[in-house]
Symmetry: C2
Subunit: 233 residues, 2 copies
């Protein structure tokens, strides 16, 4: 075995220990770890499959674990658990970066640590486990990887976007809805910059927010209004 092959095999064994799952089909494991920059037999189809089994398993776990949560809270909790940053954090915990196979261009770019490549790799591994051993095996690994995160669920309220938080805060105090107004759009067609104002008609409070789109500017304004009201705890 060449030294690089030995290193790669060591990284894979470590990865399987973290997963609590050993692949019988090494070619399948290889495909799950191969980014499309490296070769034609890459992990994108497995990622598609893994995304599905992950989303569903987390949905079912939340459904069971939060019997009183309304659908909106379950959706927000799931989104926070399956988003790229969470998957990239899991990838680091299971030392996925060392095991992934990239093309020469991506290697030079330091892509081994790039969040999207790591997150896709986690999904591809889950897809491969489903392929090899079915739903129960994939579910077992997912619940193992997510054990701590499912125990320490964030509060559903903290996951609401700023505009929703602001509206609910005002509603709970029988105050009128905030008004949003576009103040300014600057910049060229493909990198426009928006400024929006959030105004409370009953108190006259007003703040401005900014961002690369109208929605983002309004969310920023709502966030600043929550701060101004001392409602951002």
């Amino acid at each position: 075995m060449a030294p690089s092959d030995r290193n790669r095999e060591q990284a894979r064994v470590a990865l399987e220990q973290h997963l609590g799952y050993g692949f019988k089909d090494r070619a399948l494991l290889n495909r799950a770890l191969t980014h499309r920059s490296a070769e034609a037999d890459h992990n994108e189809r497995l990622e598609f499959l893994g995304d599905g089994v992950l989303n569903f398993t987390i949905a079912a776990a939340l459904f069971e674990q939060c019997p009183d949560a309304p659908e909106g809270d379950l959706s927000r909790l799931r989104a926070s658990l399956v988003r790229e940053t969470t998957l990239a954090a899991i990838a680091k915990e299971i030392e996925l970066g060392a095991a992934i196979v990239l093309g020469p261009g991506e290697m030079r770019n330091g892509s081994r640590r790039r969040a999207s490549i790591l997150a896709d790799g986690v999904e591809a591994l889950l897809g491969a486990i489903y392929c090899e051993n079915g739903f129960d095996a994939a579910k077992r690994v997912i619940l193992h990887l997510y054990a701590q995160r499912l125990t320490d669920l964030p509060s559903a309220a903290s996951l609401k976007d700023a505009k929703t938080q602001l509206q609910e805060w005002l509603q709970a105090r029988s105050r009128s809805r905030p008004e949003y107004e576009l103040v300014e759009v600057t910049g060229a067609d493909h990198c426009q910059h928006f400024v929006s104002r959030c105004r409370l008609a009953d108190s006259g409070d007003s703040v401005e927010g900014e961002g690369g789109g109208r929605r983002k500017a309004e969310q920023d304004a709502a966030r600043r209004m929550l701060e101004k009201l001392g409602a951002d705890s």
Copy 2:
């Protein structure tokens, strides 16, 4: 039994025959069929669960059935199979409308036939089957409901949006990329109307499209350009 109870029970029995699945837990079936307008014990949580098992089961079926399809094609095929109009069509096939429980306001509005309520009802039923009998039972019912649609899959190319179709058509003929330009925005803040132009630099061909957002106007322009080129077969 009052006549309305008898009708409802008949509608449920017909529904179970279409599903090829009989519920042991009638309270669970009742919840799956209850829209949130009718009572507090409604089907939204089950819909969340059913959406997950449906998405994943269709993803896995496509993965298996289309071994050579790239990830993008699988995604588009899945989206076409789980979107609201497809689910509403399935709801009609299984006579779901007659079995659904609505609040008095929704009954007056004719909501029994509304696509979103029917689509949500199908997902809630699938969620309830998963609850009662696990993944394999839900998967069996889904594959039964989708048997014909999985046999008659649309071509992946036909599911691409107009801008993608246009770009690929031009690329296949070694022509340069189309250019899009915003021509006009009219209307008040919350009901703006956009006009965009699609232009082919090499031939000078140019058409305009319109819609309620810039992206929609560009898609409309691309669609008209495909027509103009005779590339919309």
